[in-house]
Symmetry: C2
């Protein structure tokens, strides 16, 4: 049996979403085919609109207009602190914790000389300028732990003026974790980063 072109087109598009296989795509499309016309049109439009999503010229977060919602708030700039993250999703995760009230800076990647990704590609000079322009005193490097992430953190530290404090986020055992299931690297970090109580 041959499927109609419309089904095939929809399946092919859905399959490009990470984590969606052919079976899931089919199931979702059969569900979608029962939606009302106006619902489908609005969904289609929402997807097309993603193509014109804007990004903050300051920090790289998504925005409506030149500046994002975070950069526009004076109380967040007043904190004098920037949290540097690899990706937009990392940024949203930090924001969701509700524990950080300063500004963000989305690098969009980490240093990877073998892949041709140097400081310019991930905008480190722009970050350093921003730190100086805004008179930032503290940088939280919330870059994921990996060889490239560590190198990126060290490089940023080195490029910053000496009077700016750069701090990596704490590494250790995750909440709700069980020692028996942790990898040795995490246990090593947890032992290193122990804290007197």
């Amino acid at each position: 049996m041959n499927y109609p072109e419309k089904i095939i087109a929809a399946v092919e598009n859905f399959r490009k979403i990470p984590g969606v296989g052919e079976k899931t795509a089919f199931r979702q499309i059969l569900g979608l085919s029962k939606w009302r016309t106006e619902e489908l049109v609005s969904f289609g439009q929402a997807l097309k609109d993603l193509a014109t999503l804007e990004y903050c010229i300051e920090c790289g977060l998504f925005s409506e207009g030149e500046l994002c919602d975070v950069c526009r708030r004076s109380e967040r700039a007043a904190a004098g602190i920037i949290c540097v993250v690899e990706s937009l999703s990392d940024c949203l995760a930090v924001e969701k914790s509700g524990q950080f009230r300063g500004l963000y800076h989305v690098l969009g990647g980490v240093l990877n000389p073998l892949a041709g990704i140097g400081p310019e590609e991930i905008g480190i000079p722009r970050l350093v300028q921003r730190v100086q322009r805004l008179g930032i005193k503290t940088l939280i490097l919330a870059i994921n732990p990996s060889i490239e992430g560590d190198a990126t953190s060290s490089y940023i530290r080195q490029e910053l003026p000496d009077d700016v404090s750069a701090e990596r986020i704490g590494f250790g055992m995750p909440m709700g974790g069980a020692l028996e299931f942790l990898d040795s690297m995490t246990i090593t970090k947890a032992l290193e980063n122990r804290k007197k109580i």
Copy 2:
């Protein structure tokens, strides 16, 4: 932090897909926001196109034009057999097994008098006419096992001319299943439907 309208609209649409929660919707949209403009436009169009999906006037499968790909093939009509299923997805599952070469009939539901779903609503009179018009000799009732499904099967049997054979699909232990994890109803059916080897 407030999210841009475009993100919120996309998240709300994705969340309406069964099995997609807020977290998944966000992750998928962050991925989608990296797609090229033309890819997003084509995905959006594919969704809008689902609104104009056509259904076969004979069997209820999706189609391009009046008849679906199955009903258009003379060798499938020649088999003189119709497989009756509840939903489009059930139909695709049977077709995927590759074991059935006759025609289909999608009911779109089962009898449920309490919810006001009678024989007319799921098109049983239309099925009976079709059986007579095409000179069908055998009906496979591949309706899911449930009280309503059993009632629907019995009702269809009763409406058919006596010379038409109506057969329910076999119930029992699924392939790869383990007796210890099966429910009692399935074990009961498996014991009833045992076969001499």
